[in-house]
Amino acid sequence: MILRTELRRSTAPVAGIGFLVVSVGLLYSLSGPWGKRTAPWDEQWIGLAQWTRYLALFVLPLVIGVGAWQGLRDKRSKVGELFATTPVAPWRRALPTAGALALAVTAGYAGLLVVGGVQVAGNASYFHLKWVPVAAVMVLALVGIALLGMGIGRLVPSLVTPPVLAVAALVAQAAVLQTGWPLLLTPAFEAPDITVFTSVATSVTLTQALWFIGIGATGFGLFVASRTTTRLTALLPMALSALVVVPTLSGVDSPVVADPDARALVCDDDGPRVCVTRAHADYLPTLVGPAREALALMGKLPSPPTSVVEMPSQGVDYRPPPRDVVPVFLDTWSPTDPAKIRMTVLSGADVPVCDEEDWDAVTRVIVARTVATAWLTGELAPLPGWQYLSEDESTKIQQVWQALQALPAAEQPARVAALRDAALNCRGDLTTLLGTP
């Protein structure tokens, strides 16, 4: 009954609706990191959970501020003395107020998950439940931080408490960005830790859950306490959980672990083998046709490759595949135009330019790959994604193209094959292709 009144009359509804509006507003008004890479928030389940937690960087300061404002209510209304005379235990009286705010922020986050989840359900071909505990930690964090705000608001009942807490939360989170494990004390993840091929380590999820429960317990304790001893006791849950959480999280190298189910291969063996990871299974029909055309074109090479396989990562854990496999990467983009797909599969094995430090080196690699691809297709065209470079270097490309064609006909396939082999190991450029610098 009181809970219903609190849900209608306290800050709770504003907090819940405000959370949803600010979050959805941020997601849609800015082209932020949440729409990029392999797990956009509206395309993959793990991305939905992790990117909505990334938003904690921006919404937690508001949540703690609103919590503190709620915690100030008795002081603002000058009812402390009156309420102290009631025979109800303080925690019983605090429960509906705290419960209303907790329910409201939980509902706000659930609303955000629904907004994203409807889109993910339409987009993702890979369904799993590993994202649920990850999202559940965000609920604990939101409730815990809101309660902490209420507790501090009650402890320091001044009008400046909410803005100071809000700014402090934003500053603290901004300060721990890119510092490694301290960020794990917040719900947010760094962008590189959010991919469709990884999920959050269970140990990290459990430790973070413990941490935010500790924060919430301390917040509620501070909200209820009125004497110094009870206030000090209220600090215990947070202090005790910190004793467990800090040593555990500071030993964590990466909060994510590989998701073997997402990396498992889904193959089309109806002809030359073409495989994608399960996370991208819906792309297989698009890829099969152009990939087989590309394999057919590569038949001109000595010991030609026989299969096209998606590899999960271009990053540090790239391992060169066997020579008869053409790797493709769907990390950054996945074209739908068959001609572009064919070019991408053909173009120097689609291996990324592994050392991107030196632009001249990148240019030499791309020119070599452009010409090698042209030799396979018989037509000189810019590589997908490298149009600008191809325009800038068109004379160089023409020279190399003619130089390659001037080689003895028997040597040309060997040269192109050598470039492809080298490319698999992140090496190889014009020298490999032409034999001369």
Partner: protein, 187 residues
């Protein structure tokens, strides 16, 4: 003089200014050398100062204050200008080493937003408006550089961005006028 003293006391200006100074020093201590981070923390300094001092834009009983036979409009305007001025002074003196134009632009816009907040939400919640705008700006700064949409992300644009200056000036002026004419929200 006596009026001014009573006004400052009724709006808890000393406590607000002291807290603002403490916040600015705290932010400055965490800044570091990274230019992006310096810009972000410069914005956060200005936000802290305006958000904290915005609580003084309304007294304990705004309805009662209105009945006083005083010309409120210039007094209110002076208060908003003073908040902006304090944000500039603390931003330049204590805050991270960024272009002064960025500090002034942020102070003008955020002081206007704080005044708008006090008019619409009251003194206690006035901080929400500059805070929400800062949150948007900071997330845009983390998303891409320079951030897109200068009219929305004027807080974190590089110096000499006309659209950002216009946005900050417009918000500052709007806040000043609206608050001077309407005064803080009456419950």
């Amino acid at each position: 003089m006596r009026w001014l003293l009573l006004y400052l006391r009724s709006r808890q200006v000393a406590a607000g200014t002291g807290t603002a100074l403490a916040c600015a020093v705290g932010v400055a201590l965490l800044t570091g050398d990274n230019p992006t981070r310096q810009l972000m923390f410069a914005v956060l300094t200005t936000t802290a100062v305006t958000a904290v001092t915005a609580t003084g834009l309304a007294g304990v009983d705004p309805a009662l204050e209105r009945t006083a036979a005083l010309r409120w409009w210039w007094r209110r305007a002076a208060h908003v200008v003073a908040i902006g001025g304090l944000a500039v002074v603390l931003g330049v003196a204590v805050g991270p080493p960024v272009d002064t134009e960025v500090v002034v632009r942020g102070a003008v816009g955020l002081a206007g937003l704080a005044a708008l907040g006090a008019t619409v939400l009251g003194g206690g919640l006035a901080w929400c408006v500059p805070m929400v705008w800062t949150v948007v700006a900071v997330s845009a700064l983390l998303a891409s550089q320079p951030p897109a949409g200068p009219l929305l992300t004027w807080l974190v644009q590089p110096p000499d961005t006309t659209a950002a200056t216009v946005a900050a000036g417009g918000l500052g002026l709007a806040g000043l006028l609206v608050y001077a004419i309407r005064g803080p929200r009456v419950q």
